[in-house]
Symmetry: C2
Subunit: 245 residues, 2 copies
Amino acid sequence: MKQALLRVPLAPLFAGVVPLSPETARYVSRVHRLREGERFLAFDPAQALEGEATLVEVGKGALAARIASVHPASLVPRRPVTLIQCVGKGDKVDAVIRDATELGASRVIAALSARCVARPQADRGARWRRIAVEAARQCGRGDVPRVEGPLPLVDALHAVHGAAGACLDPRGALSFGRWVGEVTRVGEVMREVALVVGPEGGFTDEETAACEDAGFARVKLGSMTLRTETVCAAALGALLALTDA
Amino acid sequence: MKQALLRVPLAPLFAGVVPLSPETARYVSRVHRLREGERFLAFDPAQALEGEATLVEVGKGALAARIASVHPASLVPRRPVTLIQCVGKGDKVDAVIRDATELGASRVIAALSARCVARPQADRGARWRRIAVEAARQCGRGDVPRVEGPLPLVDALHAVHGAAGACLDPRGALSFGRWVGEVTRVGEVMREVALVVGPEGGFTDEETAACEDAGFARVKLGSMTLRTETVCAAALGALLALTDA
């Protein structure tokens, strides 16, 4: 297997000499032991740009990347997909953001519902965005999902108005495969898809009704009651397989 | 939402009075605070049987389940699916067994390949089987996947001889959706499916060749390089959606 270039997030990215932050300099020179003159792949997830970089020293041991040219990232998801994830215990949202980034979500909204057992701290947003960038770096993705929230569930549902929506529910009458077939058509303009995943304790009847009122179909993926943190990978994997010919 | 009965693994299960082990007695009476006369759902994952149980005391405070009748479990996966998972760091196999149980695998084989970074201890088998039973309890599944290994990768490949096999690989030429379409046909006898997932560092060229020699197609699910512990949920979710009409 040909060794791929180390991917390093670097923003804003432009052709020229781009200084590295102390954190990024440490990452390339200490963690990965790159030396002056060695190459890596710099990517700017906010702009979905990338460019081959050469490590250079710029006085007093500070490091920079010399970028010959910048071009659109080679791997970005094609379909806009939003995941609305109700917040669970501990670091489950962290894990879901990792999975969602690898599996091509374009937007993740953390939502608060009645049976949420944890209220995330206010500084979670920055942490979640860092996790998304790191997951993009690892999986080869050239952009990152927008991460929002936590928002009340109803506000999250409104935030995806116009998308084809599904609420994952093992008691739903419609299968995931059939639903995807109904809302996506090969050759058509790609319609945005939104999936909503309940918390550990599930939705209340009122919340299920709110999802239906907002146009979300109740869709099941298999017959088992999945843990909230399993649903994202299973559903996004299913969506990729069903729409990626 | 109607509160479902507490599910309790109990083996061997039969109609009559079935004594509870001290561990199970503690689980129902301390953790879930059931009292004499209260009901739960006992299930025997090895036989895929279940029966409604009433908690009874049988002298000196020992507890038992009175089972009126035993019947085949209502939720068991329909298609035989084997997951061969190369062993990763730390407790990643634990997480994969949980996901595989929820998402309907019938057999999980832990495999050792060249780039495996961890060699599981000899007593992992019993731990893995307990994790599978607990995952089945949580998700409503009436049986458990058979958990085997760790075996050398080549032995694991031979152990699924005759199944339709795929090796998950982002550089594969065939998409997961197309592969599933080729190897499964609606209305046909359900053919066994086997998926092989590499370790964190991926397969060596020799291992990829061994998979191909054993008849495994190189199949990609999206374009990103998934972490080894994400592949199971994404691929089994995709398989469910593609085959569950």
